[in-house]
């Protein structure tokens, strides 16, 4: 298939970027990233610098790949990361627009690469259970109902890719943060730190420059793991009910 791929090229965080069009001959069996590989290989052959992009596992779980394809984070297929998207979803003759995640809290590093370290800093504030190695009781000491464990797992599936932020007109990180808060606060092991966790993570989220949630649910639609917005409601409850009653110094 013959395609025109328009890609955001930007040398560095403080430089101006622009869309550049490249012709690409692709096969429908290629993954989207393999199509970019082919394009890059042709650029290297010409002595030009290839398009910088993040990727690693290429099986939809590491969360590293991050492209806005025709305006949609991870492209047109639901519940699919960019690396798992295949070219058969496109037609011969298509023009495809590829851009980086766009959010003030995710500055562009180069081309399609962005800096998502804000997510790590939020986790460092409370996205854990403080259990030093060696302190654990037997794993069956605390029974956890299957429904609760399943719900925690639904939230824990988040791959930290940032598509939720990229899809949101406010660049809000509420889905990401609420998934982690819910995963840990739902479990009995996570209860002792539940209040501190919700407040500390929300406070860090705000200071990183992510926007607020206005309940459009674009994040859920863009999430490759289909994480539910119900976790946002859950986190709001954990946060509001405690930030007034028992504010924690974070």
């Amino acid at each position: 298939m013959n395609l025109t791929v328009k890609v955001w090229r930007q040398r560095g965080p403080n430089e101006k970027g622009k869309m550049v069009a490249y012709p690409v001959v692709a096969s429908e069996h290629m993954s989207f990233l393999e199509m970019i590989d082919v394009l890059n290989e042709s650029l290297v052959e010409k002595g030009e610098e290839p398009i910088a992009f993040d990727h690693d596992c290429r099986e939809g779980i590491c969360g590293m790949c991050s492209m806005v394809i025709d305006g949609v984070p991870h492209g047109p297929e639901r519940a699919t990361t960019t690396c798992q998207l295949h070219m058969r979803k496109f037609k011969d003759g298509d023009t495809i627009h590829v851009e980086p995640w766009r959010a003030a809290a995710f500055p562009v590093v180069r081309d399609l690469m962005v800096d998502r370290s804000a997510f790590d800093r939020i986790i460092q504030k409370g996205g854990f259970i403080s259990a030093n190695t060696g302190t654990a009781p037997d794993a069956n000491e605390i029974p956890i109902s299957k429904d609760l464990a399943d719900m925690a797992m639904d939230a824990a599936q988040c791959i930290g890719c940032g598509a939720c932020v990229a899809s949101c007109k406010n660049a809000s990180a509420m889905l990401f943060v609420s998934a982690k808060v819910s995963h840990l606060n739902l479990l009995p092991q996570g209860r002792p730190e539940a209040t501190r966790r919700a407040q500390a993570m929300v406070s860090q989220m705000d200071s990183e420059g992510f926007g607020n949630c206005t309940n459009q649910y674009e994040c859920e639609a863009a999430c490759p793991k289909e994480i539910s917005v119900k976790f946002i409601a859950k986190m709001n409850r954990d946060y509001l009910s405690t930030s007034i009653k028992e504010p924690v110094k974070v």
Binding site: S27, E28, H29, M30, S31, L33, E34, D37, E41, L43, V44, G47, E49, P50, A52, D56, C57, R58, E59, I61, C62, M64, E77, T80, H86, R88, V109, R110, M113, R116, S117, F119, D120, I123, Q124, K125, G127, F128, I129, T133, G134, T135, A136, P137, A139, N140, P143, I144, S145, K146, A149, D150, M153, A156, Q157, I159, G160, H183, L187, Q189
Partner: protein, 638 residues
């Protein structure tokens, strides 16, 4: 140098407890006087970094990804073994030990494997305490599934994302220590050289992948948790960034590389679809419970599966192994698929594929039951191939998945270089010549949470905090110069070919000559061809861009350059090991029925290679394996 495994004396079951008591300790107040570098942030690296920081050491952790949460441990699907015996089905520490030694085809160290089985129970407790959402039954207790190579159910899991959940557990523990200021985390940073002085590992030289800046880091001990080298084949189930550079740089500085020829080829992967292919995707082994593997009886049969009548199909695993059928171990299933494809009976483009057919199961069980069991896998298959496995058989082919070989370490997980520790897939120690399913996660976390934090203390206590070499020392300056010269060399070749094109060519040589089946002539050919390719690489490589900035082509060039040397070492190891065992199958050494034939008299040892200089043959050192508890037998699955 002699290889002393430092296995403690005494009965097998008491060795670890005894050793823990005999090791020297570092006083809590003195721990902060010691610096430890950890390279890699997967299960082994993250768990080690977190645990060492909790103890009070100053830890610096490095990873090449943009976040420590993305290391490739995250992609493990199936589960993690532990000898909890929650199912009351007769499991025990000894049984897990025994299964692992046998599964490894009697090429692993007994004492290490027994310790692994012992601490496996603590891993599950630790992970549950961290909030890892393991699968549970309605009573709230943990459930288990069974896995290959075992007759008990001892595998703990979190849906099909066990690796992800365990890694996020370790990442959260690491993040807590970063937040507390106990770990200094360096993301998007790649280790390019190990600094050795007076026979001890003193630090590393790294490159910041965003700025290109080269910096030196000194420590009392260096821990490599840098994963496996499966990407030497270019195509594997590893992540794109997985590489051998850290381990190979250490090898060139004196660390021995053990059993590099032991590679695991997984039988159920989605086949290659074209020469643009960048990686291979694994389909869970569980599919073989209900899928039947077959190829046409006739060579070059290009009919659709549905048009090939029953009597013209060859269900070759059921034919050759009537008692185990489609559930033979990974190495046997893989080799059999290669055999039928070599005969010209493979299916699909290029003839490199076999059918995995659910037609009969759907007829027998109904579509609903099959869908309940495998729907997520069927969807993944359809997303990648565009074919619907409910309507036509899947096409599968073996792919490189895991590497059992790695840097040689003693019982304390320290290499032959003092102060250089190696954990997880990067070391060679626990899986022998073949790893059982659900054991990789167990080993990574055992090393990082429970073994290394104990053994490194003994080394540091004996070393003393005064014995550190600062980055201003000439050994660091020398390594720094080496790194910069090498990077400049890549940039200044200005040839015609990309790093990837060399990598693909190397991968093809490795796959053809040192893949699922190896023979003397093929290995010798590879040992001639690889240096030729290497020579061309150094003359004709093209790396656009500059060194002092983000340059993904330059990153690749460095990794491919190391693979081009390491691949030859693998072939030499495979050539010298005149036997078949586990993942290493030498065509000259098979039974009349075509099964792997070990040579216990001559090869019951670990083969550890010492680097002797560029274009000089490496020197082999042997660590004899003593089996005091397990009797060596021939595996049979007929």
């Amino acid at each position: 140098m002699s290889l002393d495994s430092k296995i403690p004396s005494g009965p097998l079951a008491d060795k670890w407890e005894k050793h823990k008591f005999e090791m020297k300790l570092v006083n809590p107040a003195n721990k902060r006087k010691y610096d430890v570098i950890v390279v890699g942030s997967g299960l082994a690296g993250a768990s080690a970094s977190a645990s060492l920081a909790e103890l009070g050491y100053n830890v610096k952790c490095f990873c090449f990804q943009d976040s420590p949460r993305r290391a490739h441990s995250i992609a493990a699907q199936g589960g993690i073994n532990a000898a909890k015996n929650y199912q009351n089905d007769g499991d025990s520490v000894y049984r897990l030990f025994y299964d692992t030694v046998k599964g490894g085809d009697y090429r692993a160290r007994e004492a290490n494997v027994h310790r692994l089985a012992q601490v496996s129970v603590n891993i599950i407790d630790q992970c549950a305490a961290q909030g890892v959402p393991f699968a549970r039954d309605y009573g709230g207790m943990l459930t288990n599934r069974s896995f290959g190579g075992a007759q008990v159910s001892r595998t703990f899991y979190a849906r099909g994302q066990t690796g992800q959940q365990l890694l996020i557990g370790a990442y959260s523990a690491l993040s807590r220590q970063i937040g507390l200021g106990r770990v200094e985390m360096h993301t998007r940073t790649e280790m390019l050289e190990l600094v050795v002085k007076d026979g001890k590992a003193r630090g590393i030289i790294v490159r910041n992948l965003l700025t290109g800046e080269i910096s030196a880091h000194s420590a009392h001990a260096v821990v490599l948790a840098t994963g496996g080298y499966g990407n030497v084949y270019f195509l594997s189930t590893n992540a794109m960034g997985c590489n051998v550079t850290a381990g190979y740089r250490a090898h060139k500085k004196g660390a021995y590389f053990a059993n590099p020829c032991y590679t695991q080829i997984h039988p159920t992967c989605i086949p290659v679809s074209g020469d643009y292919q960048s990686k291979l995707t694994l389909m869970s082994e569980s599919l073989r419970n209900d899928g039947r593997v077959w190829v046409p009886k006739k060579k070059g049969d290009t009919r659709k599966a549905a048009d090939i009548p029953e009597e013209e199909r060859d269900y070759y695993l059921e034919r050759k192994y009537p008692s185990f059928g489609n559930l033979v171990p990974r190495d046997i299933a893989s080799r059999s698929a290669k055999e039928v494809c070599d005969e010209g009976r493979g299916v699909g483009p290029g003839g490199l594929g076999v059918f995995l057919d659910f037609g009969e199961s759907i007829k027998r069980l109904g579509k609903k039951v099959v869908s309940d069991r495998y729907d997520n896998l069927f969807q993944m298959y359809e997303r990648i191939t565009g074919d619907n496995p409910y309507e036509m058989p899947m096409r599968i082919y073996p792919a490189v998945h895991y590497t059992m070989g790695g840097l040689w370490v003693d019982y304390n997980l320290m290499s032959n270089l003092d102060g250089l520790f190696v954990v997880g897939e990067a070391n060679f120690s626990d899986h022998g010549a073949n790893r059982l399913g659900a054991s990789a996660l167990m080993q990574g976390l055992a090393d990082g949470y429970f073994v290394l934090p104990n053994t490194i203390g003994d080394y540091l206590a004996k070393l003393g905090w005064d014995d550190q070499v600062g980055v201003e020392d000439e050994s660091f300056a020398e390594a720094d110069t080496q790194v910069k010269e090498r990077l400049n060399k890549f940039l200044n070749i200005k040839g015609e070919r990309s790093a990837d094109s060399f990598h693909k060519e190397l991968g093809k040589i490795m796959w053809d000559k040192c893949g699922m089946a190896r023979n003397k002539a093929g290995l010798e050919e590879a040992i001639t061809k690889i240096p030729e390719l290497r020579e061309e690489f150094w003359k004709n490589l093209k790396v656009p861009g500059a060194g002092e900035t983000l340059n993904q082509e330059l990153e690749k060039a460095g990794r491919v350059a190391d693979f081009l040397e390491f691949g030859e070492l693998m072939c030499r190891d495979a050539l010298h090991r005149e036997e078949s065992c586990g993942g290493h199958f030498r065509e000259e050494h098979q039974t009349p029925e075509g099964e792997a034939k070990r040579n216990d008299d001559q090869f019951t040892y670990v083969g550890a290679w010492e680097y002797k200089g560029d274009n000089t043959a490496p020197q082999l050192h042997k660590e004899e394996l003593e089996y005091e508890n397990v009797k060596l037998t021939q595996r049979s699955y007929k």
